[in-house]
């Protein structure tokens, strides 16, 4: 492991990679601050640029964008009560009241230090857990992988859209259907191409991500007459005040951070859960754990209440890398985008990644530390200036997002058909967004579609067509049992509501 850490450090500390982490964190912070544009859009817009680098650098850049977006989301939560990303909604509960009391700078500093500590602790957990998990996951077989993918898709559907489980499952099926277009991986038989040569290789992953996130979010902003930059214009006018944290506040944070980092990390590891659930759960848990007099301060600018979700959401971001790096199965929409990008580089993440490509495995983990430090020392003092950059009017922002999306597809395929297809998917996605059809399940399903079919094929061929493989092995049966519990619970909730 020491050797791996050294390889990772060497790669992550190269000038180019440090620069990439800085650019990623900076760009991610800007996008994360804009309500409506989340980390997935930020990462999607970065994909075409990452193809100019080696895989390790590309992944480091995307990881930087991810953390930056979560950090940027916290900033708008605290200063404007307008969370940039869902994972920072709980941050606004105490961050915004604190800002209203004239302690915006302090709230930002508490959030930044908590994010830093949460992310760093989670990166340490990841450092020790990932290699052991990789070894354990070597014993996974096709039925286990198939069951795990079903669990991941069900979980993301259950958690991504409150009370809209069936809609989310429809999006999962649609994602899998889109993934089935093109040549069958084993027999090379073409499917759903309708004799169109452009579809023979299937629909590009970047195309689907750009269409359903970047482009569709831009169209939604225009359609709903939203102005994501309006919030940023206010930020630059806000008096931030001191960013110093006193001894008492530090003591409170020191109690909150260790426990909420653990819960954040565990939730992040679970498929589908992610930063949003982690932050809410940590907030609720912290409220139950503190003394009664502190409990009353929750919602009115509590240090514990601000530190808990911030620690947890960053820890969850690192935790989400565990299933991606060790099993090759992303646990969230954002890590699904990263998986797609890795596959584009010709790299298959999974248990063997840290043996076959140790520089990628370890440099990503090491770059997490570097990313956290950069976020702390660079972004915190720069927030008022970043906010000024954000004051770009939406009349410029939207065309630029569309430009990045179309360029992304153009440089990949030099094909008009792909651009038309992307616009078509974006229009459909924009319409579906209006009616609360969630997009992350579609992306996760699209990325997992090929792997899922492959594992089902192997399982069915080994068991000679019998579905008994689902309960033959205790591990498969256990994963399936969890899936059934999630589905059962969602169906029960749906019927209860009706």
């Amino acid at each position: 492991m020491i050797e791996g850490i050294l390889i990772g450090l060497k790669t992550a500390l190269s000038f180019q990679n440090i620069l990439m982490v800085m650019i990623g964190c900076f760009f991610g912070t800007i996008i994360g601050m804009l309500p409506g544009l989340g980390p997935m859009t930020a990462i999607a817009l970065m994909i075409p640029i990452t193809y100019g680098f080696d895989p390790a650098t590309g992944l480091i850049l995307m990881a930087g964008v991810y953390y930056g977006a979560v950090f940027g989301g916290s900033t708008s939560s605290i200063l404007l009560n307008a969370p940039g990303v869902p994972g920072t909604v709980a941050t606004s509960f105490d961050g915004y009241p604190m800002a209203q009391q004239g302690k915006a700078g302090k709230a930002l500093a508490i959030a930044a230090w908590s994010s830093f500590a949460g992310g760093t602790l989670a990166a340490i957990y990841l450092l020790f857990m990932a290699p052991s998990l990789s070894k354990v996951s070597l014993s996974f077989r096709s039925p286990d992988y198939f069951a795990l993918m079903i669990l991941g898709l069900t979980a993301i559907a259950a958690f991504s859209s409150k009370g809209q489980f069936i809609k989310a499952m429809m999006m999962v099926v649609l994602g899998l259907m889109l993934a089935s277009v093109g040549q069958d991986s084993l027999s090379d038989i073409t499917r759903f191409t309708f004799n169109n040569m452009n579809l023979t290789d299937g629909i590009s992953f970047v195309l689907v991500v750009m269409a359903t996130f970047a482009m569709s979010e831009a169209l939604t902003i225009i359609l709903k007459r939203n102005d994501p930059t309006a919030a940023a214009k206010q930020v630059s006018l806000t008096e931030l005040g001191s960013i110093k944290i006193n001894k008492e506040e530090r003591a409170k944070m020191l109690k909150t951070i260790p426990r909420t980092s653990v819960i954040g990390f565990i939730i992040g590891v679970l498929p589908g859960a992610g930063a949003t659930i982690a932050s809410f759960l940590a907030y609720g848990m912290e409220r139950n754990l503190v003394k009664d007099d502190e409990k009353e301060k929750f919602g009115k600018g509590s240090v514990h209440g601000l530190s808990a979700p911030e620690t947890a959401n960053n820890a969850a971001c690192s935790g989400a890398f565990v299933p991606l790096l060790t099993l090759g199965i992303p646990g969230s929409g954002t890590t699904a985008v990263m998986l797609g990008a890795l596959l584009g580089f010709g790299i298959q993440p999974g248990p063997r990644l840290y043996m076959t490509n140790p520089e990628i495995f370890w440099s990503v983990i090491m770059s997490m530390y570097i990313g956290m430090v950069i976020l702390l020392i660079l972004n915190l003092p720069l927030i008022p200036y970043i906010a000024r950059i954000l004051a770009v009017p939406k009349n410029y922002l939207i065309p630029l997002i569309l430009f990045f999306s179309i360029t992304g597809i153009y440089v990949m395929s030099f094909n008009n058909f792909d651009i038309y297809l992307m616009i078509g998917i974006a229009v459909v996605a924009t319409f579906m967004r209006l009616y609360d059809f969630p997009m992350p399940p579609l992306i996760l399903a699209f990325v997992l579609g090929g792997l899922m079919e492959e594992n089902l094929r192997r399982s069915l061929l080994i068991s000679n067509g019998s579905w008994e493989f689902l309960w033959d092995r205790p591990l498969t049966a256990a994963i399936l049992a969890v899936t059934i519990i999630i589905v059962g619970w969602q169906i029960f909730k749906t019927f209860k509501k009706n």
């Binding site: 075409p48 640029i49 100019g52 680098f53 009370g163 809209q164 069936i166 809609k167 499952m169 429809m170 099926v173 649609l174 899998l176 259907m177 089935s180 069958d184 084993l186 027999s187 038989i189 499917r191 759903f192 169209l219 225009i222 359609l223 709903k224 007459r225 939406k394 009349n395 410029y396 939207i398 065309p399 630029l400 569309l402 430009f403 179309i406 360029t407 153009y410 440089v411 030099f414 094909n415 008009n416 651009i419 038309y420 616009i423 924009t430 579906m432 209006l434 009616y435 609360d436 079919e453 089902l456 094929r457 069915l460 061929l461 068991s463 000679n464 067509g465 749906t494 509501k497 009706n498």
Partner: protein
């Protein structure tokens, strides 16, 4: 049963799933693969049924969380114009080239979204695209096809 747009979308998805399932059954497989436990049409067939199941469920079950969209407040005109500009951009990018079409796409999008500061519009189109092209083509070595720049001798 209350008919709302979510139900209509579900109905469309149901019809789409039925069509997908029909097409899945039409996938030609090798004769020796016809009765294999798994062939090229197995997974799509399951997906077709799953699509029918979930959209059917959404159609049948009452919808307590009905999403109401105020269509009058939506900005359809600008959205449609932007989509049309993007389509024209897509249609011309290969023939004319990246630099000119992208710059014109940006200028026209800024204009239709209500921007009138021409100097800023210019700076955020032609010079901006040129710098971005330099980043992609010159620094990152990502190939960009541009017949227009080739014609005027700027690009090799």
């Amino acid at each position: 049963m209350n008919i709302n747009t979510t139900k209509i979308i579900s109905l469309l998805f149901f019809v789409f799933s039925a069509f997908y399932l029909y097409t899945a059954y039409q996938i030609q497989v090798f004769s020796f693969d016809e009765n294999a436990p798994f062939n090229a049409r197995t997974f799509p067939i399951y997906l077709g049924y799953a699509g029918l199941f979930f959209s059917g469920l959404k159609l049948i079950l009452p919808d307590p969380n009905t999403i109401k969209v105020e269509h009058k407040t939506l900005e359809y005109k600008k959205t449609i114009i932007l989509v049309l500009i993007a389509i024209i951009y897509g249609a011309t990018i290969l023939k004319i080239g990246y630099f000119l079409t992208t710059s014109l796409f940006l200028i026209s999008s800024y204009y239709f979204l209500g921007e009138r500061r021409w100097m800023l519009m210019f700076l955020l189109s032609f010079p901006f695209v040129a710098s971005f092209m330099y980043l992609l083509h010159g620094i990152l070595d990502i190939y960009l096809r541009d017949p227009f720049l080739k014609l005027i001798g700027v690009m090799g």
